[in-house]
């Protein structure tokens, strides 16, 4: 495992290509749940967990089932067959990934409800929202690009998922701090709520633009 490459993934996902501010992923929960710091932290941590696990699951599925010459395809149809040569990636990737993520989130929700009710009450309301958070599907797709040369290894994928999630949490926390103060300002009526939130995000993105070129 290449430590330098891992370090680049960590710094890159936290600051340089931050999922919210540079890649435009996960904006719905970012503006929707960033009114209070406690909500922002809960949502951020829940998203981080799901992103790390989704990276693990989708990367494994891609390697063993969907890729050209994937073990399962070879085992079922033989190495010479059309299906093993082309793989199922092109046609089934989006569908399989979103179903994997949706079922995983559902499982976590049921597990927490039964076994850790306190955590379920704290995170429960965020969990259903995570399935349609494009950051989760986004990181799964970014981990397994079309070009085999750019494909991440499994540990790299999980680290990318974790730190992209932490980057999301960081920006959520910063934003909730700003918004708690904005609430008390006397803004012109049309700018209240969403519009001023996006303007502040823009200013924050401008600050994060300073990290460009670091990686």
């Amino acid at each position: 495992m290449n430590i330098e490459r891992l370090f680049l993934i960590v710094i890159g996902n936290l600051f340089v290509t931050n999922f919210v501010l540079a890649r435009f992923l996960g904006l719905c929960p970012f503006v929707g749940v960033s009114r209070r710091t406690s909500d922002a932290l809960g949502m951020g941590l829940a998203v981080t967990f799901v992103m790390a696990m989704a990276s693990l699951l989708t990367h494994t599925i891609d390697t063993y089932i969907l890729k050209p010459q994937a073990p399962l395809l070879v085992w079922i149809a033989g190495a010479e067959s059309q299906i093993a040569r082309d793989g199922l990636e092109a046609v089934l990737r989006t569908l399989v990934y979103i179903l994997t993520i949706a079922s995983f989130v559902q499982l976590v929700e049921m597990f927490l409800k039964k076994n850790v009710p306190a955590l379920y009450r704290a995170l429960g309301i965020y969990l259903p929202l995570i399935t349609t958070n494009c950051a989760v599907l986004g990181v799964a797709l970014l981990n397994t690009p079309d070009d085999p040369a750019e494909m991440l290894t499994l540990p790299e994928a999980v680290i990318q998922g974790t730190f992209a999630g932490l980057g999301f949490t960081l920006v959520m926390l910063l934003m909730s701090g700003i918004r708690e103060r904005i609430e008390r300002l006397d803004l012109p009526a049309p700018m209240r709520g969403m519009p001023i939130a996006f303007v502040c995000t823009g200013l924050m993105a401008l600050a994060f633009l300073g990290f460009t070129g670091m990686v």
Binding site: F24, C28, A205
Partner: protein, 198 residues
């Protein structure tokens, strides 16, 4: 069949500027007019296709698994769009990148499926899909027009403002957020003014 289902998506219930759905793809693809148009057409196709199909199966699907069924339908149309773009417009497909597959988790698609197509006739769902898709495309074109013109002095890749000193920030992410915030404020202001006039 009600023609108002078509027109509501364009302005009164515009998905991006009024309901504020689909923010991620619209900011990511509005850096130039060309990608904005491609994204708009792709989203419209998926919205119309999934709306019609979901409306067709609305009486067959059991309530408990309906969301999963909608996701399967939507992702089928997304895959068709993705493969079509990769085959015929590889450059655009590379620029838009993961945002074509990400139409699956776009709140507009699932929102229309759940709120409209699952309760209405096929014809009305078709009109609703076309209206919402075109409303989203219009919003994207407005963003793309302002960002490309102010950020590079070009439109569709052609220089229209020779000698213009471009505000490069408008093409980069901060410009996208700022512009969306200001536009949302502008549309809020128009609505408030109309409400006050009544």
């Amino acid at each position: 069949m009600d023609i108002r289902e078509l027109t509501k998506g364009l302005f009164r219930q515009n998905p991006l500027f009024v309901i504020v759905l689909g923010v991620c793809p619209s900011l990511a693809t509005s850096g130039s007019l060309e990608t904005a148009l491609a994204m708009g057409i792709a989203a419209t196709f998926v919205c119309v296709g999934s709306n019609v199909f979901i409306s067709l199966i609305r009486n067959v699907v059991p309530g408990g698994v309906r969301i999963a069924c909608y996701i399967v339908v939507i992702s089928t149309f997304v895959t068709v769009t993705d493969l079509f773009l990769k085959a015929y417009f590889p450059d655009i497909s590379r620029t838009i990148g993961i945002f074509i597959p990400l139409i699956v988790v776009n709140c507009i698609m699932l929102g229309r499926a759940e709120a409209f197509a699952s309760k209405n006739t096929v014809m009305n769902s078709l009109l609703d899909g076309v209206g919402m898709g075109c409303g989203f495309t219009l919003a994207l074109l407005l963003l793309g027009f302002i960002r490309e013109l102010s950020g590079s002095g070009k439109l569709m890749g052609y220089t229209v403002l020779p000698g213009y000193n471009p505000m490069t920030v408008m093409i980069s992410p901060p410009g996208a957020f700022l512009l969306l915030g200001l536009l949302l404020g502008f549309f809020n202001w128009m609505q408030l003014r109309k409400a006050a006039a009544k």
